[in-house]
C-alpha cells in the first residue's frame, strides 16, 4: 500500500541501546507474554484497507519486524515475526509493503532513547515518560521509575469520584502537561494519559479521551 519507497536506517547508537533493551525488557512488566517486545509501530490506512508495521526486539537480541495489512473489517491481530535482523548490521530495507516502516522506525528510535535511560537508571523527566507513544509501555515505565517521579511537582487539579485524578505539571518554556491519572478497574494498573490543558475536572478529561462532553459521559458498564 505504501507508495513511497525509501531506504530507512536505524542509527548505530540506537542498535546498541536496543541490545540492552533486548536483554532487560522483562523488567518492564507490560503484560506481554512471550519472547518479543514490540517497540515501534507505523500505521497506514487507505480507504478501507489498513496496514501496520511493527518493529521490536526479541530475547535472543535480534531486531524483529512484522508487516501486516488487510481490509478494515478485520483489525490487526497480534504481530508475529516476519523477519529477524542482527543488531550488529545496519538495518536498511525498503518501506513496508502494508504499514509505514519509516514512522515505525522513528517511533522505535525515540522510544528506545527513553527506555534505555530508564533501564540504565539515568534520570528521565515526566515529559519524556509521557511522550512514550504506547500507553502500556508508558505505564510499565512509570511503575519501574515510581509514580512519585512522574507526579513530582504535579499539582492536583481535580480528584474525580470514579474518573481518576487530573494533574497539572508546569513545564518551563513549554505548554503545561495536563495528565489524567486513572486506574483500570479490571487490571488495577495505573495509567497516565495526556489531555488538553483546558481540562478542569477529571470527569471532563476522561470523557474527552472518548470524544464525549462530561455531562454526556455516564457509563452503563465498564470492565
Amino acid at each position: 500500500m505504501s507508495e513511497t519507497r525509501e531506504i530507512v536506517k536505524i542509527p548505530a547508537e540506537t542498535r546498541e541501546k536496543l541490545k540492552l533493551i533486548a536483554e532487560r525488557f522483562a523488567q518492564l512488566n507490560t503484560g506481554a507474554t512471550g519472547d518479543n517486545f514490540w517497540i515501534g509501530s507505523g500505521n497506514e490506512s487507505q480507504g478501507y484497507e489498513w496496514g501496520q508495521f511493527d518493529i521490536g526486539v526479541n530475547r535472543d537480541g535480534k531486531l524483529i519486524t512484522c508487516d501486516q495489512g488487510g481490509c478494515s473489517c478485520n483489525g490487526p491481530e497480534e504481530p508475529t515475526v516476519d523477519k529477524e535482523y542482527s543488531l550488529d548490521e545496519p538495518y536498511e530495507i525498503e518501506n513496508g509493503y502494508y504499514g509505514n516502516e519509516k514512522a515505525a522506525i522513528e517511533d522505535l528510535i525515540s522510544t528506545t532513547d527513553i527506555l534505555y535511560k530508564v533501564l540504565t537508571d539515568e534520570a528521565v523527566t515526566p515529559k519524556e515518560i509521557i511522550s512514550l507513544p504506547n500507553a502500556e509501555v508508558r505505564r510499565a515505565v512509570v511503575e519501574l521509575v515510581g509514580y512519585d517521579k512522574v507526579a513530582v511537582d504535579a499539582e492536583l487539579v481535580d480528584a474525580g469520584a470514579t474518573d481518576g485524578r487530573l494533574l497539572r505539571i508546569e513545564l518551563e518554556g513549554d505548554e503545561d502537561l495536563m495528565l489524567l491519572h486513572v486506574k483500570d478497574p479490571s487490571t488495577t494498573r495505573e495509567y497516565f494519559l495526556r489531555v488538553p490543558p483546558t481540562m478542569e475536572t477529571a470527569k471532563q478529561a476522561r470523557a474527552w479521551t472518548f470524544g464525549f462532553e462530561a455531562e454526556d459521559f455516564n457509563l452503563t458498564q465498564e470492565s
Binding site: T30, G31, A32, T33, G34, F37, W38, S41, G47, Y48, D54, C71, S72, C73, N74, G75, P76, E77, E78, P79, S131, P133, N134, A135, E136, V137, A140, E175, M178, D184, S186, T187, L193, R194, V195, P196, T209, F210, G211, F212, F217, N218, L219, T220, Q221, E222, S223
Partner: protein
C-alpha cells in the same frame, strides 16, 4: 438516553442507525477483532450475533458500527466480558492529547 460501555481503551455506545451509507463487513466465526494492543498482544473482540459495518464516508472517523441482532459480548484477555443488548452501536477508541495532534491511545 444512550448506553455507554467502556472496555479498557475501547468504548461502544448505542446510537440510532446513522444516516450514512453503511457497508456490511465480512466476519468469520461470529468474531471480529475491534482493537488490539501492540505491547500486550491482547485483543478487544466482539463475539456473537452481530453485523459489523463501516461507513461509506471516508472522512468518518472511528472504528465503525455494529448491530447486535441476538446475543453478543465484548471480550478481552485482561478485561471482563460485557454483554451487549440488541441495538445499533458506534465504536470509539480512546484518544489522548499531544501539543502537535490528537492521537489514539495505544497499548
Amino acid at each position: 438516553m444512550r448506553n455507554i460501555y467502556r472496555h479498557g481503551d475501547l468504548l461502544v455506545h448505542t446510537i440510532n442507525r446513522p444516516d450514512l451509507r453503511l457497508i456490511k463487513q465480512f466476519v468469520e466465526d461470529n468474531r471480529a477483532v475491534l482493537l488490539r494492543g501492540e505491547a500486550t498482544g491482547h485483543n478487544h473482540s466482539l463475539n456473537g450475533d452481530f453485523i459489523l459495518y463501516r461507513s461509506n464516508d471516508l472522512k468518518e472517523q472511528g472504528l465503525g458500527y455494529f448491530e447486535v441482532t441476538g446475543k453478543a459480548h465484548l471480550d478481552h484477555e485482561e478485561h471482563g466480558v460485557i454483554d451487549l443488548p440488541q441495538g445499533f452501536y458506534a465504536i470509539v477508541r480512546q484518544r489522548e492529547y499531544t501539543p502537535e495532534r490528537i492521537v489514539y491511545v495505544r497499548d
